[in-house]
Assembly symmetry: C2
Homo-oligomer: 465 residues x 2
């Protein structure tokens, strides 16, 4: 019925599979607004599953506002949720006055106080005196050549990646890279796999582009690769954050890395490897990027927003040759290219290996902040705590036994001048997060907090529980 195929013995439950399939049908307009769904009995028989399975899937859809039940008529697709007006992920936070915030635990904010702005300025001056007028006309949508060369060299120094400048494409950051990659994959009209929970702009873009997608749970080894294998439909791509899963913090295990790449080759899909937080690692050696295992199947995405500073708006991707021409076309009609001045400055900064020095320094800074954070949490939280994602990146996931971090809690924190990123309770509505028990996890970014603030910040946070 409706071409729904369920896979028995998959690590994704039948309820979840059915639920996702129905959402996709609604989103694709196959099930239209006001359309009546088959009765639970009818669908259960057709799919050879228990009525309970169908009932549970329907209940989830009711809870999330996709369908409603009507006495005597069964379950009906909500008009507002049908394809005409697909629901959008609501990720926009309330307009808040961040100036009043004392302690900022938001995710993804680097510490820019230690950035060598004076030195950066000297390279900007160098740019001013060394630029060629031609560089200020329309340039290559792929990006400034010297910068691409420096990125290739740096990736070899820092990651052991052997890449050629012709495979390096400059972006304005990872969000742009994700959007363009999805546009490249969209014509395939196949399912896109995301992590559950996942980085919210990916979810937003998938909904906006009307993609078929399937979220796959993340555990302590990262995304559940066997569950991807179990997925029966054709897959066009898979977005992963293997270095430090966003937001849960796990690191994709070596075994799963190899399996994921093998699966991509066998099933003919592309991996979007977001090397989020990959530059900041504590107590662990550098991980081999998936890209190095199969450069023609993996799109590697990097950014200087966290390693240098966010308002630089420069990132890059390593792109399989198959997509080179399409990417350039897309970039040309979207925003043409990055601005030139900062590209030149960054290439000078990298050429003299200042980036290596700075990242090394920041590794120490963040490692120390992390240690103070963990110590403070142990000191001020009386509860049983579990720390996730403490080996890399700029945030941790804190699991507090018995706690329930609901919207009220986040509000209370804000009233007490503590900012938290609203993961997962606000961003991960609907199908992007499946399990209710995630509510005992708090995500704490420590990039923006100063060492001296950490103790009192945690103390206040604990008092609000």
């Amino acid at each position: 019925m409706y071409g729904i195929k369920l896979c028995r013995g998959s690590s994704v439950s039948l309820v979840k599979q059915l639920y996702s399939a129905l959402i996709n049908l609604i989103r694709q307009g196959e099930l239209k607004g006001q359309e009546r769904l088959p009765s639970t009995r009818e669908l259960a028989k057709e799919l050879a599953v228990s009525r309970n399975t169908v009932n549970e899937a329907y209940q989830l859809l009711v809870t999330e506002g996709y369908i409603y039940s009507k006495a005597g008529a069964g379950y009906i697709v909500h008009k507002k949720c049908a394809a005409e007006e697909a629901p959008h992920v609501c990720f926009a936070e309330k307009e808040r006055n961040y100036h009043e915030i004392e302690y900022n635990f938001s995710l993804g904010i680097p510490d820019i106080h230690a950035f060598p702005f004076l030195m950066w300025n000297s390279y900007q001056k160098k740019t001013l005196f060394q630029f060629k007028k031609e560089d200020f006309a329309y340039g290559d949508p792929q990006g400034y050549l010297s910068l691409r060369q420096e990125i290739a060299k740096w990736l070899f120094r820092s990651r052991g990646l052997q890449v050629h400048e012709e495979d390096v494409f400059i972006t304005t950051g990872t969000t742009q890279a994700i959007n363009f990659c999805l546009e490249l994959l969209k014509p395939l009209q196949q399912t896109f796999i995301i992590e559950d929970p996942c980085y919210y702009p990916v979810a937003h873009s998938l909904q906006r582009l009307n993609f078929l997608y399937q979220s796959i749970r993340v555990d302590e080894e990262g995304i559940n690769v066997p569950a991807i294998k179990d997925y029966q439909h054709a897959i066009c791509g898979c977005y992963v954050t293997p270095s430090h899963q966003f937001p849960k913090g796990s690191v994709l295990s070596d075994g799963r890395r190899a399996k994921l790449v093998k699966l991509a080759e066998e099933r003919d899909f592309y991996i979007l490897e977001d090397d989020y937080d990959g530059e900041f690692r504590y107590n662990q050696t550098a991980l081999t990027p998936l890209y190095s295992l199969c450069p023609e199947r993996v799109i590697y995405m990097g950014t200087f927003s966290k390693t240098l500073f966010p308002a630089l708006r420069i990132g890059f991707i390593l792109l399989p040759k198959k997509f080179h021409a399409q990417w350039k076309t897309l970039r040309s009609v979207y925003d043409r290219q990055n601005a030139i001045h900062d590209q030149i400055t960054l290439s000078f900064f990298m050429q003299e290996r200042k980036i290596d020095v700075y990242i090394k320094k920041m590794n120490k800074v963040y490692a120390k902040k992390l240690q103070i954070l963990l110590d403070s949490l142990k000191k001020y939280f009386p509860q049983n705590l579990k720390f996730l994602g403490v080996n890399a990146g700029l945030h941790i996931a804190l699991q507090v036994t018995g706690a329930k971090f609901d919207e009220k809690f986040y509000e209370k924190c804000f009233e007490n001048k503590i900012a938290l990123s609203f993961y997962p309770c606000k961003f991960y509505q609907k199908e992007f997060i499946t399990e209710q028990n995630e509510r005992d996890i708090l995500y704490l970014g420590y990039g923006a907090l100063e060492e001296t603030q950490m103790g009192s910040a945690v103390k206040r946070l604990a008092s609000l529980l």
Copy 2:
């Protein structure tokens, strides 16, 4: 049949209306690959038009590869053209070696040789010494406040526009602005009106976003507003280049300006006013932007790519309040914000009114180049010439009686080290340009050419005819 409605007495021919309606059905997937179209007799009867009308529309679709005829089966939709694989506007030029070009008549390239780079550098230095560290963290997706304030003041000085900084949104240029606006309008699922011929990135985005659209011919008074009025279906938006139509160069007449805005109010649609080339005007006074007539119906788009230099990647829009929140969300998930450094520098440059001085200077430079171009054309072209679009902008349209500028001609020019933008013959394939007789028009950009080159460039061009 298929919900096609034709409008009699419209300035758009019935053939063109039918042809556009069928393309939209194919693009929307209502007519699928391998589907048989009704016979010409059947459709003619249904729509109460002559069989000839249907036949002509079908022939156009055959020529353009949307459908094919099969003996005994009538007309069939091409599989490759159905919604699954919508045809894309082919605008990407061959990979050419522009280094060998001697004379560059490409469109949309400003002269950057006169740009006061030394002065610009002094403002960049000022930025280096005056920035605040907070500015280098993630900032407002709307753009840097001081820059928005300066743009508002400058629009008042240069255009008499009274705008508030809160309605000014910084972009990376007009292509980004167009893409975002289309995304904002897409949920309305109504027809978008474009100029015929039109600026190719708009066409590309419409196809990529699977929009319903209708192109309306441009004449010497700009887009044919009465023809928009005749269009029977619901309209969500209309893209216009009123200051200097791209590429035909006409200026939207005062009468049509008022009518277009009135129509937008009556029919509840939004005008995307691309003030392309609006800063460079010769022999004519400043025109009132459509925006000033109805700020809640018009999205005004400006860029500094032509007025300052292309690789700056800063533009702006004036946005009706209705879209403010949606725009910020979209920008946040797309590329977050513009880079900060150039935004600060530009705000200093504008604050001291250096932009006013530079634009005034460039008006003289371009006016002189234009005069030399026109004189050279009269001198070297023996044919009967008609000049279009000579009152503004950086290019003209040259109509040469009896000439046929086909792809071969463009190739020949390139072999002889002359670069021309391929308008309309290459970019405006399929439904974006309707009339064959456009082939006697050559579009000549004079921004990139130096005064001293103009004569010999035109002489060589004439010799290739």
